[in-house]
Symmetry: C2
Subunit: 429 residues, 2 copies
């Protein structure tokens, strides 16, 4: 990384994760320490990922940050916490002295980050974003240690996006948070039949953001306190067994129960928080009817802090359930085919709205156009060939592929850096 | 009560009650013993009431039952439980021997019962119904003791309708249920400023009935167990203090929290039970915005096992909040004016539906026509003078009156009996 030839630069990608034992509530809001452990599935980056380039140069006059091509506040306390922690670890690694061969920690940095999915759609964008930021910074400074504790300082659930497959974020006991880390429960190759579908009910922003919402819950919900102390520990152990044994019946039942209990604690919050809508409830009812029809758990839903459903199913169930969803929400049920791993649907009346959200989330010069390419919005053609009508970039195959995905990845190809040799976003230049 | 001149007959009316500390879940489904104590407000019978006539005669050849003019199954286990218990108490009172002057316990009985509100609208019809049945039977057999324990055998919450004002149903400890009784916390005259408004969101039948729903919750919700054991005892004591002190701030806050927690336990049930709809949630949000605007608790909502809101407010707030509701849910927000105590609204698009429910709930010869008299369904006129457009029988004044209501009442006027001298429903004859 020769500073003379331009900025030192590193680019990484990081995945979204979906919790099946939910995180809701901090015991320390500054260090971001949770009131209970949680467990998630890392989604494959072929469909949903964040890409981040971090650059450092003696020529940079100030720290700068671009999100989806638009300059953002680099002074955000959570961004600063990640920067500070990474630099602290780098300094520690170098034994306090300045190594002439190493990148100077006094250089200003430029960061550019892009999601290939709409930020507003409640698809865990902050988890992927902070995992990616920390991964790119670590690479830039040559750190090789496990950094989930640092990612956690950006966004709690980001620590789980530092690993692929099935990941536990353990609560930890220490007040300084050094034992509040992510641990991989099983790699992404462990359960090749598991599939993840995302049903986009609404691309609207959440009525109450997670950060504010969860602290109101901690302060006002007696049920959340009980859940964190007495319900989650046992459920976490159960869920790990179900994953180890690839027991979809147990996994699916517990994922649904835990999603419902999380939303119950939101309702027990005062004033109450509602993330599920009538349409979310229709999806829940559909899943239960579908499972009842088959006499066992073929699909399982989970909802984060928003109305959009994430559906787990085994490979042999996906095509049939997709068809059931399409017929249950006429006339234009499905629209977003995310390729081999995840299928993203927009239900009924939300197609046009969701497309608008995608368009606004991605300025023309970013990658937004790739999402909406070829979509006949509002047209009757959606009802029929909708599954193929809009593909996420790259993978037109409507059949989901074999596995949950890996953790953050280094992008080796320098042409993929989001920042140019001048240290500014390439697409913006 | 001379048997020669026709059947012995007694007629009573009984009120609806609305729980502010909710009952959900039985520890004994046969005796109807609850997992926690509950507390309710008895509504005034000027607006909502059940009327029941019980008759006995040596000429009757079988027990018979009419509900809203239509013959129903007198063999229903809960009706039979009430009949059996009343007769057992009558027999005990008479010391086992047959008193020639008293009504023979071997006579068959005829019962006719009518609500002056739609049965399907989730307005605690079974509570008023069983309280009224037990009151009329007790009168028929000359019983004078407190009979909430018997009413409880018909429907748990019916025991609370055996008293006026503010009523606690205490859980009790004994396995035989003899200490699971209703107790009056304060009479209806205690808090003359308190008002009750009912906002009818939907007249549809519940997706899951209370009896089945609450037992599924007992079996599957860890949060319900915690609520019953650890949250309700303290809340009950708090609520009694708020009522004693006529502290609307405390009363309203706790009523809202407890309603939300009850619905949270429904969501924690598996499969989850949803009684609140998007429209219910809009009312909740409106109430919180209204209170935030005023800087303190001016209105409080509570929802039973259905989407319809019950709003508590003090007298000086009613007119303003009614206006806010009407403007928030255009174009035809309010429709049902229940007279001096309760105001019943149908929101927006539900007017036509609700009127249909009323029509179907009351066969032509019953009192249904009195509800819909003069209502220009679907007409724009509803928007303006809707509050006056449909009055509950008798009281056209749109301004609610001073107090919660009394318990069951004896109807002294024989012309008000629902059964004629032939022992058959008068309106049916």
């Amino acid at each position: 990384m020769a500073a003379e030839r331009g900025p030192a630069m590193a680019t990484c990608t990081a995945p979204v994760n979906i919790a099946v034992i939910k995180y809701w509530g901090k015991r320390d809001t500054d260090l971001i320490l949770p009131i209970n452990s949680s467990l998630s599935v890392t989604l494959h980056q072929d469909q949903l990922k964040t890409t981040t380039t971090a650059a450092a140069s003696r020529d940079f006059t100030e720290d700068r940050l671009w999100l989806n091509g638009k300059e953002a506040d680099v002074g955000h306390p959570r961004v600063q916490a990640c920067l500070r922690e990474v630099r602290r670890l780098a300094r520690k690694r170098r034994g306090g002295g300045e190594d002439a061969a190493a990148l100077s920690l006094s250089y200003k940095i430029h960061i550019a980050s892009e999601n290939n999915f709409p930020t507003a759609a409640g698809l865990a964008s902050s988890a992927a974003g902070y995992a990616c930021l920390v991964s790119a910074l670590a690479r830039l400074y040559g750190l090789e240690e496990e950094l989930s504790e640092v990612a956690r300082r950006g966004s709690g659930s980001a620590c789980r996006s530092m690993f692929g497959g099935f990941v536990q974020w353990q609560r930890g006991e220490r007040p300084d948070g050094t034992d509040s880390l992510a641990l991989q429960v099983a790699p992404e190759t462990h359960w090749p039949e598991l599939r993840v579908l995302v049903l986009v009910v609404s691309g609207e922003k959440k009525p109450v953001g997670s950060t504010v919402g969860m602290q109101t819950s901690v302060e006002t919900s007696p049920l959340l306190k009980h859940r964190a102390e007495s319900v989650v520990p046992e459920r976490l152990a159960q869920m790990m067994r179900h994953i180890q044994e690839r027991d979809f019946e147990g996994f699916g039942q517990l994922a649904m129960r835990d999603s419902n209990q999380f939303h119950a604690t939101c309702l027990d919050t005062f004033p109450p928080i509602f993330y599920l809508t009538d349409l979310s409830r229709q999806i829940i009812a559909l899943a239960h009817r579908y499972n009842a029809h088959h006499g066992h758990t073929k699909v399982a839903y989970t909802f984060d802090a928003g109305p959009n459903a994430v559906i787990f199913a085994l490979a042999d169930t996906v095509a049939e359930f997709v068809e059931v969803v399409r017929r249950s929400f006429p006339p234009a049920a499905t629209a977003f085919d995310a390729g081999p791993n995840a299928v993203i649907f927009a239900l009924a009346d939300t197609v046009a709205e969701f497309v608008e959200v995608v368009r606004r989330s991605f300025p023309p010069a970013a990658n937004g156009d790739q999402f909406v390419r070829g979509l006949p919005v509002g047209s009757a053609a959606l009802a029929g060939g909708a599954l193929q009508a809009v593909g996420f970039p790259g993978v037109p195959d409507p059949c989901p592929a074999p596995q949950p995905g890996p953790g953050p990845q280094l992008v080796d190809d320098p042409s993929q850096h989001l920042l140019g040799a001048d240290g500014l976003p390439r697409s913006r230049a």
